[in-house]
Symmetry: D2
Subunit: 154 residues, 4 copies
């Protein structure tokens, strides 16, 4: 058995996570929503994600949920990258310890759009805590919201 | 026509808000979930709110969504209280302008439980911005998460 | 040599911290400013702490600095309390690892006053991270600012 | 009298602000520290800015203070840019209304260095609220801290 982490392994883990995280399905996320190459999460507007059905805007709670999921996803991909050579058991153990400590969300513009992309990047990571920045754009590249979150990573 | 805001009016507004905010229904909120007297929002654990079906914990996104909704509800009740004598039209106009500027959420303990209560209180309010504190407890009164949010109010 | 942590030990440590933290002196803090019993930090208005000499208000930077110091002080007292039986060497080692991960400050009211009291309390603590709430009042008990911060504790 | 805002006017205002903000002088800031072209604030390490004289690191309170000042400076420059054609009286009136609502600071790396540069940019601005991102680098371009803050602008 090889210790190297293959793309299909990440894919398998994402599928696994989507299964054990029912609320992700409520948000319309699937394994296909998680873009490993670009550390992005994609989702489409749906009636039930509306916070205001008159204005047709995303619910603030959907936005904060997606940003938190994206931040966790970024931490997760970073752990994969920095854990080359770690056994899959050890890696899985580390992954289950990842937890959001706190998050700030800034709601910049109304959540209007059809197709949304949430992305993120590591600001700082260490043996205990990672700090991640996240942002949410619509299909016209309007910046709808940003977030900063701290995660326990070990 | 009286200008005074009656309890049934608030109730009517909450029902209205739940209709135009489909995501609230996804979270399991109804007019009955919104406690006007105590500025509380109640909800029950359901399979689809899980963030981890193995541990049986609420999804972080559910927690942040509920805290934001609760903060908005607190602002809304405060506007009712401080707007006595305002015509309902003017009040409705003010209410539609309420928007979250930003929010910090601290995830303190795993979201375990059957019945959750989110509550909040005004830290500071003015003609433009209100700052609100929110917290989420389970039925054993364990403090699961807290939040602080700023809202545009006028 | 006893392992118990005495009040004079805490006092000695605070004095030590004030010596190795020159900026605390700039803010006008001394060992006498740190109230162990009440987890409070006291300081007086001085010309050089002004952010606006026309309005006579504290500089926002003074407020955020004091809140962060107070949060760290609360963590520090909590480690003393929960480390009974730990050798002083081990405790000192733990104390040097305490570091602020992030902090939110809400500026609620103008920083007017002569004597200020900053206080704080633990929201949650564990083996790795503590979350603390802080607040700043003036001598008339007006709430000037609040903060929430996460600290690495081990 | 021309309504256009000249570089020397901004310079004059900065000098004015430094005079009425004594704490800026404590931090070692002068009109020369404020770089209008690049929306940067420069400052040098000094003994009294230390949070830990053993490690030689900036005090966290210095970092949060500088980030808040930088965010306000960015708002201020933005108001100049977007207020072309406004009379100086009206502009000054707008500037005096600028106030920090809240700020999040993430302390990413120890504040080691000799020469520090704080910079910032507008994330979103409107008639009432501006949201700004700030960051602090040392002379080796290490990212020491970042912040996000909301400001009342009108």
């Amino acid at each position: 058995m090889s210790n190297s982490i293959e793309k299909q392994d990440v894919q398998a883990l994402i599928e696994h996570f989507n299964v054990i995280r029912p609320f992700n399905k409520v948000l319309g996320l699937s394994a296909d929503s998680m873009d490993i190459e670009n550390a992005c999460v994609y989702f489409n507007m749906r009636e039930e994600l509306l916070g205001n059905s008159v204005y047709g805007t995303l619910h603030g709670g959907v936005i904060s949920a997606i940003l938190d999921i994206t931040g966790g996803f970024v931490v997760f991909l970073d752990l994969f990258k920095t854990s080359k050579g770690t056994s899959r058991e050890k890696l899985m153990e580390r992954l289950t310890k990842v937890a959001t400590i706190d998050m700030r969300v800034d709601y910049l513009r109304p959540g209007i759009g059809e197709e949304f992309t949430a992305s993120g990047y590591i600001l700082r990571t260490g043996s205990k805590v990672a700090v991640v920045r996240m942002e949410l754009h619509n299909e016209e590249n309007a910046l709808i919201a940003v977030g900063t979150a701290s995660y326990i990573v070990g």
